[in-house]
């Protein structure tokens, strides 16, 4: 039992009261401070409760906007459009602040055994801003916008398993899949799959920018700014602000200055290098949320020397992850353990032993593999993430202790993902957050996936992946994902140093609930309907 640390507990209680930390990190830190879980839960409950108040105009400065953006959900690309989409449109399902799956336009859903048929009941109270009710017809057209031969949607691959969607006539619809997928309700949170009004011919009317979300779009200058007012008939709880102004601020310095001078109330994506300076400002609160985005270093498991599991394990033991998180991510990251399943995803197994930095163990593994004096090339480009080249150089210094020579090769930014990734035996990759482990593993770890970036072939892993995909029993599923994590951790070909956090900031008069969704920045891109001004 660790000793209690009263000073830290006081600080935590204070942080919880002012909403500076999420419930998840609060619980973690409380355990570290020597509290029991039940005591920590109690402390959280007494300090962090604050009732939301309505009113005010929320001005949000968002990064990544482009004057070529469009309101077509099929080609949503930039973060500012994703943020806007979650403010004026709705989805069938949504990710709640605590990371669970919740209802949006669909009130409830159920699967037939085998998970090949899914039925979603549509909320009777859901209305478009134009006043029309959201019907099964609208939902089906919205989904079909991403399906079929003529579809130009980037989400087409996501729905490729969907064979048919039918209207049951009782305000519910049924998806038929070609193979069982227990994750379908999670997939429907994808930002492309927004509900838009249907035209008479079955196509959708995205051009009019009519939505059924918490706010109505009244002014829209793409890539510049958007003004929205509350949709009083919205079907869910929230939407505390009267009006929203979403302003695109691509320059990190412009964003931070605007926040410091009070020109905006909140901003996305902070520059980590200046985080400590911004933290000193008493008017600003920083939200630091562990996410499911990941940095990976895939090695080709069918190319020497990576074809030897002992060599792969030696390289995993030769990286000092804590130092990389401290120096490269400025502390804003969750440690990786070489399985691509972050604590921000459902079914995360918390009992996989952490692969530690252990040069002696690495040396003995290399001896066993007969690969002493190992020398390998690691390819990286500046554009992978801020600090990516520095991270590789630091890793190469760590690996020297194990007698491994990592030769860091800096590739040009242009064409990195077409010329280096999937082509070179070892490189660095950044992955965006995916909602479930199945989506992630099927995309980049399945034996025959086009993006199997490590060429990893593990029979048991692939068998479990298929079984878990159609398993509707959550406990059984979690157990399968635990075993898969174990396999990836021990045998897999990917070094995962860390999962980067989402780091964003707000003026201290802006408040939010005890937890923040980890699917996107700004509380799962739903800050506009979930946050409020302190009265």
């Amino acid at each position: 039992m660790t000793k209690k640390n009263p000073e830290l507990i006081d600080k935590l209680a204070d942080a919880a009261r002012t909403g500076r930390i999420s419930r998840r990190s609060f619980m973690n830190y409380s355990m570290a401070a020597g509290m029991t879980a039940s005591a920590a839960t109690g402390l959280w409950g007494t300090s962090a409760k604050a009732a939301p108040t309505r009113g005010g105009t929320f001005r949000l400065g968002a990064h990544d906007g482009n004057t070529s953006d469009t309101h077509d959900p099929g080609t949503y690309l930039s973060f500012s459009m994703i943020q806007l989409a979650h403010t004026f449109r709705s989805y069938l399902t949504l990710i709640e602040p605590d990371g669970s799956l919740g209802p949006d336009v669909a009130t409830e859903w159920s699967a037939a055994p085998g998970a090949k048929e899914w039925t979603f009941k549509i909320n009777e109270n859901a209305t478009f801003h134009s006043g029309a009710k959201v019907t099964a017809n609208d939902v089906i057209a919205s989904m079909n916008h991403h399906r079929g031969e003529k579809s130009t949607s980037a989400a087409k691959a996501l729905l490729s398993d969907v064979e048919d969607i039918v209207d049951n006539g009782d305000n519910s619809i049924t998806f038929t899949l070609s193979s069982g997928n227990a994750d379908l309700p999670w997939l429907l949170t994808d930002y492309h799959l927004a509900i838009v009004p249907a035209n008479e011919d079955g196509s959708v009317d995205w051009q009019s920018a009519d939505g059924c979300g918490p706010y109505k779009l009244v002014e829209s200058e793409l890539g510049v700014s958007y003004r929205l007012v509350r949709h009083d008939d919205w079907h869910l709880e929230g939407a505390y602000f009267d009006e929203i102004e979403l302003i695109v601020l691509n320059d990190p310095n412009a964003r931070q200055t605007a926040l410091v001078t009070g020109d905006v109330d909140a901003i996305t994506q902070l520059e980590l290098k200046t985080l400590s300076l911004l933290q000193r400002d008493p008017n600003i609160e920083i939200d630091n949320v562990p996410s499911a985005a990941a940095i990976t270093m895939p090695m080709f498991c069918d190319v020497a020397p990576f074809d030897n599991p002992d060599v792969r394990m030696a390289l995993k033991h030769s990286i000092n992850r804590q130092e990389i998180i401290d120096k490269i991510a400025f502390g804003t990251a969750t440690m990786g353990n070489d399985f691509h399943h972050s604590p921000a995803m459902p079914y995360w197994p918390d009992d996989i032993p952490q692969t530690e930095y252990d040069p002696d163990k690495a040396k003995s593994l290399l001896k066993k593999a007969g690969a002493e004096d190992l020398s390998v090339d690691l390819r990286v480009a500046d554009s992978v993430f801020s600090g990516s080249v520095d991270m590789c150089v630091l890793y190469s210094e760590h690996a020297k202790e194990s007698g491994i020579d990592i030769n860091v090769i800096r590739e040009p930014n242009d064409g990195y993902y077409s010329d280096v990734w999937l082509k070179q035996p070892w490189c660095v990759v950044q992955w965006g957050a995916r909602p479930t482990p199945d989506v992630m593993y099927s995309l980049a770890y399945k034996d025959d996936a086009a993006w199997n970036e490590s060429h990893w072939q593990n029979e048991r892993f692939n068998e479990l992946l298929l079984k878990a995909k159609s398993e509707l029993d959550n406990d059984k599923r979690a157990e399968m994902y635990r075993e898969m994590a174990m396999l990836a951790n021990q045998d897999g070909g990917t070094v995962i140093p860390f999962f980067p956090n989402f780091v964003y900031a707000r003026r201290s008069n802006v408040k939010h609930g005890p937890e923040l969704a980890a699917s996107w920045q700004m509380d799962g891109a739903r800050a506009c309907s979930r946050w409020w001004f302190e009265s």
Binding site: N66, T67, D69, L77, S153, L222, V248, A258, V264
Partner: protein, 318 residues
């Protein structure tokens, strides 16, 4: 005067030919970029099928030459086509932003041009004094610093530290004119600092150049005060090079301000061009580049006409 009219006519004709050549170059340069608009939009989500469908929708499945002549046929009657990413008319996308750019350029020019010319005259008068040196060092420092750096320094001093001006120059339709001037003051000031040195030093050099001429010597000998010597006797002969430099700087105020737009989040045309290039949105790139090219052509023409009008010898050629 007839000479000038025919000169303007001739130069405008050449200008049109230049624009045509530029449009060909821009079109094929955009074509040469790797990938196309469909790939730029779909990125990781691209599959063969949705790429093909999107290309068809954007009209990218037709040969490049045909697409160019299609565009040209529209352009000669004033229709610059529709943006291939959003389907909106190019004029709707660019129109308002070009007005914003012109406004900012005009705002900066109204301050910078008189300021630079007067400062140039003053330093020519006080040449080689401490004031001359200080003015030179300061203006050269501001022209040598990158614009975004100047912008950040101004934001730090005038927005963050003293809160005199807003750091964001975002515009809204219901702003009063005074509010507009206040909101866009920092970007305008940045531009003023960037263009002043060039115009001021040219004014100074052109005047000093003339000061050793015999007729100036004469004016001085007959007892004309130094200020009058410069303003009445030297300046009229110095206008031609000064007007040329002013025209160049005005063109720069319209075409070269993308960094200032980014730093102050000003919705001008530079950002539109950068975004359109990154998405390979050819009709928008083409329209922006032609506007820029036309700006240079017209301002150069204006400079030449101005130089002729201020110089009697050019006005009445033998």
């Amino acid at each position: 005067m007839g000479d000038i009219v025919s000169l303007i006519g001739k130069r405008l004709g050449y200008g049109l030919i230049t624009l045509l050549v530029i449009s060909v170059i821009i079109f094929f340069m955009v074509e040469m970029l790797p990938g196309d608009a469909a790939e730029a939009i779909l990125q990781m989500g691209a599959t063969e099928e949705n790429l093909a469908a999107l290309r068809e929708e954007m009209g990218l499945d037709r040969p490049a030459i045909i697409r160019y002549f299609d565009w040209l046929a529209g352009a000669v009657v004033g229709d610059f086509g529709v943006s291939i990413t959003s389907g909106e008319p190019v004029s709707a996308i660019i129109g308002e932003r070009f007005v914003n750019t012109l406004f900012l350029a005009a705002y900066a020019a109204v301050i910078a041009v008189p300021f630079a010319v007067i400062l140039g005259i003053v330093v020519a008068l006080l040449r080689n004094t401490l004031f001359d040196r200080v003015a030179n060092v300061l203006t050269l420092t501001s022209i040598s610093s990158p614009e975004f750096f100047l912008g950040y320094v101004l934001i730090l001093l005038l927005a963050v530290r003293t809160d005199m001006f807003p750091s964001l120059a975002s515009l809204s339709a219901d702003m009063s004119f005074g509010e507009l001037l206040h909101r866009t003051f920092l970007p305008a000031l940045t531009l003023v600092l960037v263009v002043t040195a060039h115009m001021m030093r040219m004014t100074r050099a052109a005047i000093i150049n003339l000061l050793s001429s015999p007729y100036i010597e004469m004016a001085r000998l007959k007892g004309t005060p130094p200020l009058k010597v410069i303003v009445r006797h030297a300046l009229p002969n110095a206008w031609a090079p000064i007007i040329n430099v002013i025209a160049l700087n005005l063109a720069y105020l319209i075409t070269g301000v993308v960094l200032v737009e980014v730093v102050f989040v000003y919705p001008g045309i530079g950002q539109t061009l950068v975004d359109a290039v990154s998405k390979q949105n050819f009709p928008v790139v083409q329209a922006c580049c032609l506007i820029f090219a036309a700006t240079f052509i017209l301002l150069n023409l204006a400079a030449d006409v101005g130089a002729i009008l201020t110089n009697p010898r050019l006005r009445h050629p033998k």
